[in-house]
């Protein structure tokens, strides 16, 4: 039984609270401690003052642009994934014969993993791959296809690996909304468009914001596909490559921690922006229709 904080203060110590201790201790030891350690380490550079790493990052030409390069990849990829997952998941909310099959087919790419997608794209989009052969066979396009080893290759792989996840998450939020609400709106004369605009969309807003954040985390920490499918020295030198190089090629853990902290900071700014946008969009209870 949920007890309020007041009654809890007066009752003797609740032993079931001990159940949460192992998990909390684990997270403190292996997530919070390394994080704080990294934060402290980043202000303790190999040479120079406390902020030397950060000033180094923002004044070096192959470091600070990595923020924009990563955002230029991650934001469009996340937007594409959420924007396409929403209408498809919305269509799939009604239980039909096909629902389960379509869901299954769309979810399968989750298992592929970034490395397999990269390997497959290198073959398929390659200069003598099936796509270019098909286009030449149909006389649609004769020139070379440039979809690998550049920006587009990484973006496509982010969409392939991220879409199933966004779809699954949004589908779960959509099917969680009681269809009775939409039916009630329909009896009051709302057409399907109005039902979506005034019933589903506001109720979905928190779920969409959550989905956007989780999908963005995946896209923002893009690493293997940026190396294998992009051009890691130039246009797809993302921030995680910079952090990895600092740590494991230059063995400058202090600089690497600083880059990691900058990465986390940018991520948190985006999450905060999305969540505040959600509040502009809709404020109120999300669990309607039960009561």
């Amino acid at each position: 039984m949920p007890a309020s904080a007041d009654t809890l203060a007066r009752t003797p110590f609740d032993r079931s609270l001990l159940l949460v201790v192992p998990a909390a201790a684990f997270m403190l030891l292996l997530f919070v401690y390394p994080f704080l350690y990294g934060l402290a380490l980043s202000f303790n550079p190999k040479e120079g003052g406390a902020l030397a790493n950060y000033s180094h990052f923002f004044t070096t030409d192959n470091l600070w642009p990595t923020i924009w390069i990563t955002l230029k990849l991650a934001l469009p990829a996340t937007l594409i994934n959420v924007a396409f997952a929403l209408p498809i998941a919305y269509k799939m909310r009604v239980k039909t014969r096909y629902q389960r099959w379509v869901t299954m087919i769309l979810v399968v790419p989750i298992t592929l993993g970034t490395v397999l997608i990269a390997e497959g794209m290198l073959l398929y989009f390659g200069p003598r791959g099936w796509l270019s052969q098909t286009l030449q066979f149909l006389h649609l396009y004769e020139g070379p296809i440039r979809l690998t080893h550049n920006y587009w290759g990484v973006l496509i792989s982010l969409v392939i690996s991220g879409f199933p996840f966004a779809f699954l998450l949004i589908l779960s939020y959509v099917t969680g909304i009681d269809p009775v609400l939409a039916r009630a709106a329909a009896t009051l004369g709302a057409d399907p468009k109005a039902q979506f605009r005034h019933i589903y969309l506001p109720l979905l807003a928190p779920g969409l914001a959550m989905c956007f954040c989780l999908a963005f985390v995946q896209a923002f920490s893009v690493f293997p596909s940026a190396v294998l499918l992009g051009s890691p020295a130039g246009p797809t030198r993302v921030i995680s490559i910079a952090a990895y190089e600092a740590a494991f090629e230059q063995y400058d853990y202090s600089l690497a921690s600083a880059i990691a902290m900058i990465m986390g900071f940018v991520q948190l700014i985006i999450v905060a922006a999305v969540l505040s946008l959600r509040n502009v969009f809709y404020r109120g209870p999300v669990s309607g229709g039960k009561g």
Partner: protein, 282 residues
Amino acid sequence: MSAATGNWFDRAWRGLLLGLMTLFVINIGLIIAAVAVSSFAKRWLGTWLPDGWTTAFYTASWNEFQLGDVLWVTVEVVMAVVFLSLLIGVPAAYTLARRDFRGKRALLLLFLLPLMVPPITYGIPLATVLYQAHLAGTIWGVILANLIPAAPFVILVMTPFIEQIDVNLESAARVFGASTARMFWHVLVPLLAPGILAASLLVLVRTIALFELTFLTAGPDSQTLVVALYYAVFAAGVRAPQSVDAMAMVYMSVTLVFLLIALRFVNPTQLVSRVKEHPQHA
């Protein structure tokens, strides 16, 4: 639905969606097929299909990449991560679902943050700490690193499951004198079995695919399949590309088997819609 009598805009929109979905699925299918064909190819240079077929590259990649060892390490890591994340995650989810206490919101934040922060951000400091503790490069370091996103994931999936179970069942067990441990084992665990199964399969699929943390903490003897595959592709050129493709196919078959098992037990829409019915007020 009565909306089937839509105007041309509705029909165009539906057609566009269907077209995009088909394009997406067909291209992914062809991408997978390209890897599959290449893995069985004797020689494949710019033709529709290879000149001849062989399975020699599967045995070759099995030997070249020590796939037997890698698979064994993967199984060990994944099983340990699933078991340990359930062991610490389920009790925590129980308390979070049933009790209100001071600091609950801070605790929820603590469990949500690892899912909201890019793995590289905490992975690099974590690798540094693990190197100091002489755990990096060992299989235990890999397991610990993989537990960081897995345990909160179990908590987030299990909390709504537990909220659904009637509190009266627990009270009844208490009335008959069951201790917390007995109540947990004889009442909650059987009722939670579908949820635990779902959570463990999801953790399993996620852990097999999780690249960054394993990559940062693994040594030569503690690589999982996905990291070994990355090194194989990254260092391609010295080996026949077909053996890399064969390895990629092995990777895909392993994850696909588990996903299909998971989908037999869990309807993805049912699973997470429970999350929606009891949103965390965090």
